[in-house]
Amino acid sequence: MSSAIGSPIDRVDGPQKVTGAARYTAEIVLPHMTYAAVVAATVASGRVAVIDTGRARGAEGVLAILTHEDLPKLAEPHLLPSLAGAAAPGQSFFPMQKDVVHYAGQPVALVVADSHERAQYAASLVEVTYERAPSITTIDEGRDAAYEAERLFGGLLPARDERGDVDTAMAEAEVRVDVAYRFAANHHNAIEPAATTAVWDDGRLTIYDSTQGIRASQLTVAQLLGMPLSDVRVITHFVGGGFGSKAMVWPHVTLAALAARHVGRPVKLSLTRQQMFTSAGHREEQEQQLAIGATRDGRLTAMHHEKLSITSPFDDWAEPATGVSSQLYACPNYRGEHRLVRGNTMTPTFTRGPGEAVGVFVLETAMDELAHELGIDPLELRVRNHAAVDGHGNPWSSDGLEECLRHGAELFGWAGRNPVPRSRRDGDWLIGTGMAAAAYPVPLFMPTQRARARLYADGSAVVQAGTQEFGTGVLTAMTQVAADGLGLPLGSVRFEAGDTDLPNVSSAVGSAGAGMISAAVHAAATALRDQLVATAVADADSPLHGADPATIEVREGRITQREYPGVGETYGELMQRNRLADAEAPGSWTPPPLDTPHGLLTFGAQFAEVAVDPEIGLVRARRMVGVFAPGRVLNPKTARSQLVGGMLWGLGQALLEGNRMDPRHGRWGATSLGEYLVPVNADAPEVTVDFVELTDTVVNPLGVKGVGEIGQVGVAAAIGNAVFHATGRRVRELPMAAELVMD
């Protein structure tokens, strides 16, 4: 019966975005605005011995300088993923509370001035003398002190997952693949740098924040400042990309609030591009090892997946890397482990396809090696081993992997591929093709989600939920969901978001946004529709008086009997007769319990063709195909775009993106987009995306599994496998630098 859901409509915020009218956080205009600049530590470990602010204080336009000597003491932050719905600081450490320095880039002073230029200039006049201590900023430096983590993600997830007898099964396996991989650190580099504008009014705080979760910003700032939630309001209309860097709440948000309270004027704090490398998290440097044991006919018998990564001095953080390898394939004996090295970095954080974008690279590269070893087609090896149930024996809430693989193979032209490496050429280029399965967990650990629907007697509606638009198309998709729920044409519905005064939903992270927000919006919209239907059947003057509500439907704002479409009236007629200027209903959705007896993964399949110039190690992706089964697709146009973007993130992960610490200084080698390479237009081939339709009745009412992460997962493996097919060379490091690829 739905008509708007599933339609490829244009973004409702399109006109604002193409005309420059859309306002992002740093573009909010407030009277008497002031500007903050962060002074960041230049050493990776030690303490601030002397901080001389004299000259900076004398600089023109300076209103205040805050250091650890005068910043108020805050409550202790405790890291917890923002989806959980509590305070969500990105790390269990707040800078400028003491003189200690834990990582380069840590804020040591904050300058507030009456213009952007004056704040930046005065910040350059703050003279900091450090007592430097030895630092550890790479895995190599801390390898000897590596330890096994007990729990990850602020305690939410166990760091170890084990079933069966891995060691015996591995020893007895007919065939073994056992390989190690290294990964440079990644930075999100959303094009909008993180920014916060804070303003106080009569003891109440309003924050404009560039965030993936306004509620998380509200909870975190309120907790750190010891304020009631009702006195902290967060507003965010447009966010210039997040990719995980705005999923947690970093210190600058609270610093902006403190500075605004201190100077008694609004404060705008925008991080610089350089500071985005040290102030909003990153994907940690890591190593992974995966051993697979199998039978000669290609059945997996044992798998051992280990991750070693570097974390901060204060948090056991690792993106969980084994959520897919532990359950994608049927394998009776499995062990996944996470080991950590403590280092002098900020706490790493979610980066698109958290954990699994790397873990699946390892898994799907190993599967390719196994297929090659066994002489089995890589696609058939996946199909043969795909599990029917998850690691606990629960059936999938919905599957679709085999359909994705088969359909992708058809679109790509996989059949008849000569598996022999280095068997295709195009002039100087070696040509190779590769594929990988993709899967990403569906997270359900969010609290109850809420929305509200209001219908006016003129037939127009406003539906609200406290989420924010950062490119996912949520404003568009939720307009569609609300229109269908209310039975109104799209043009009569406006979806409003971006304010914590609206009904509460969780941060849009981990591909959870579309599913959880649509659930609340659908609940509110249908509750309001049902309320008005009930009014109609109870109204002696309505043509629907006495009808069974179950026989009634609403389309285009008209309430009718399903069997007799001629019998009915419009919302407007009903409301005006009943002297209802408007009608309103809340809606909420509580996710299934954490022990729901279902396997929860979103599936897909990735294919890539590469051309490699073996003389110079240049790899060019020539075409990419991805097929996904993300449940209900609310808007295929925006969903396709998100998946294409994810796939090109996978290309960047495979070929371009990496940052390394310079251990002499304990600082990142790259701190600009000139040094940290991300895909540009000329890197991006044509990308084909298609869907496998499936119904999921478990994850949420509309059966939405999300598209934010799955697009990226598996791409790097498909590209790496294609590079192997082209060159005969396995590159066991990301990004695949030219020197690793060339002959």
């Binding site: 000259r55 230029e117 990309g241 775009s641 991300v678 991006a684």
Partner: protein, 200 residues
């Protein structure tokens, strides 16, 4: 060269021989660097056909002048280092990175920003094509993409997909809408609508 510019250069290069109190008083010879920036002076900027006189320090970039002084926030600050292209505007019809241009150097020139592209309520064909082709997600790089896209059609640099891709590679889209950006540019090119600039 205007008188204030002579003063400015003299202030930085030869402060001791300056006789203008306004400058000398701010730079004690024994305490470099300066604690104040060079003073603000009125600068006449012609943006999207209108001339605005704003008080600007000489160190203010064109991008900050647009965003912080003229409230034209359509041009975006993605890096402030000239690497991302989100601040692309036209100066005298040429593509320019506003974050690497000093506002004072734009006096007497014609600046066009994304806000000046549509003809009133009617979107420029490239703006319409970006919506139809879904050539953006978060929208933060979009102004720069569109300003580059319109210019490169005029420059005749969009005859093939490879040429479009190469010419558009100074504008980073982290959402990676690149295939859709190319599609939008193709659409406008093939309809032959790219040439007209609404204002300037």
């Amino acid at each position: 060269m205007p008188a204030w510019a002579v003063q400015l250069i003299a202030h930085h290069v030869r402060p001791k021989i300056m006789h203008n109190d306004q400058f000398v008083a701010t730079a004690p010879p024994d305490r470099p660097p300066l604690t104040s920036g060079p003073s603000s002076l009125p600068v006449a900027l012609t943006v999207n056909g209108s001339t605005h006189v704003v008080d600007l320090e000489p160190r203010v970039s064109l991008l900050d002048a647009l965003r912080e002084h003229l409230d034209l926030t359509g041009s975006k600050k993605g890096c402030d280092q000239g690497t991302c292209g989100a601040c692309t505007v036209w100066v005298d019809g040429r593509r320019v990175l506003a974050c690497l241009s000093l506002a004072v150097t734009c006096e007497g020139r014609s600046v066009t920003t994304i806000e000046g592209l549509a003809a009133g309520e009617e979107l420029h064909p490239m703006q319409r094509a970006f919506i139809e082709c879904d050539a953006f997600q978060c929208g933060y790089c979009t102004a720069g993409q569109i300003m580059s896209a319109v210019a490169l059609l005029e420059e005749g640099n969009a005859t093939t997909d490879a040429e479009i891709a190469e010419s558009m590679s100074g504008n980073i889209c982290r959402c990676a809408a690149y295939p859709n950006i190319r599609a939008a540019i193709r659409e406008v090119r093939d309809a032959g609508e790219g040439g007209h600039r609404a204002t300037a």
